[in-house]
């Protein structure tokens, strides 16, 4: 069973600018989880499309409740492949991103289509789709839900990072105020606390049945 998710995004920059930023979007203040980035294949096709494969290493931390089901010394980072096709004639860019590490545990595939916003030619719209699956017997649903929640958080970060890089490219000083940084940190702390509470709760529950 695969969980499907779809959402739309808008960047208030031209399609050209977005494509240029796409190749330069790491690092940004929202991409601390991206450790390495490489182009490992690139070609211009006879139809004049640019096809590329990017290899990324990202940190991948499982929530506490999941940890006990995982191998003891599982790598804390994951390899991600991001394939893309840029078509300068049609002014479209399509990307497909998926994890090649820990894929049996959880696989997240994302497809993004970037095109000129039909209402405003100097904006770019993104259609984002994701397919999340897991093959862990008995935990499929829980892991998929976790995967989807984390995916949604990462979409927000991706968009913020993109906006930051675009603003910087256009010579503006990106506004990431101290307040914003503090809010985000607070949110992360709250999330961690929530995970911990859940963990404790499930332990407590188990004890009752012993």
């Amino acid at each position: 069973m695969v969980k499907y998710y779809c959402c739309a995004g808008l960047l208030k920059s031209t399609w050209d600018q977005v494509c240029i930023a796409f190749w330069q979007r790491y690092p940004n203040p929202y991409s601390n989880h991206v450790l390495t980035e490489d182009i490992i294949f690139r070609e211009v096709t006879p139809a004049n499309c640019l096809i590329s494969r990017r290899l990324l290493t990202k940190t991948s931390r499982a929530p506490r409740w999941m940890e006990r089901y995982l191998p003891k010394h599982m790598a804390s980072s994951a390899y991600i492949i991001e394939d893309s096709v840029v078509d300068p004639q049609k002014r479209t860019m399509t990307t497909l991103t998926w994890n090649i590490s820990h894929a049996r545990l959880m696989s997240v595939e994302e497809r993004c289509q970037y095109r000129i916003n039909p209402e405003n030619g100097s904006w770019t719209e993104i259609k984002r789709e994701a397919w999340i699956s897991s093959n862990v017997y008995g935990l499929t649903r829980a892991i998929q839900e976790f995967g989807l929640a984390r995916f949604k958080t990462s979409v927000t970060k991706t968009m913020k990072g993109f906006e930051y890089v675009l603003a910087k490219m256009q010579g503006e000083t990106p506004s990431r105020t101290l307040a914003e940084t503090a809010t985000e940190r607070a949110r992360e702390t709250a999330l961690a606390a929530k995970e911990k509470a859940k963990d404790l709760a499930s332990h407590a529950q188990k004890k009752q049945y012993v």
Binding site: L50, T57, Y79
Partner: protein, 103 residues
């Protein structure tokens, strides 16, 4: 991460006939998965970003100025991928996206 402001880039930035400035450089770059490849990667990325903005998106198909830097970078990074046993062999382009159910 390294800082990439070079003299060459600065002179490029000030060149009146180039619109490289409109796309501009980001200060820091990402590390390569191969620790030894980051400098080669930076050199290639700079070449590519400029070619992409100034030539490719504008429909100019005259040659590939980045071929040599790409070749050197690839020699390094592909070696690192083998050494780290990163399983990318035979992974099809746009690979797993076979017709997927929607919801």
């Amino acid at each position: 991460m390294l800082t990439t402001a070079t003299a060459a880039e600065n002179s490029l930035k000030n060149h009146p006939n180039l619109d490289y400035t409109s796309f501009v450089r980001i200060q820091a770059i990402m590390n390569s998965v191969g620790e030894a490849c980051t400098d080669l990667k930076r050199e290639y990325d700079q070449c590519f970003n400029r070619w992409f903005a100034e030539k490719f998106l504008k429909g100019d198909r005259n040659g590939d100025p980045c071929m040599e830097t790409f070749r050197l970078y690839q020699r390094c990074v592909q070696k690192a991928i083998k050494e780290k046993e990163i399983p990318i062999d035979g992974v099809e382009f746009m690979g797993p996206n076979k017709e997927k159910p929607e919801s």
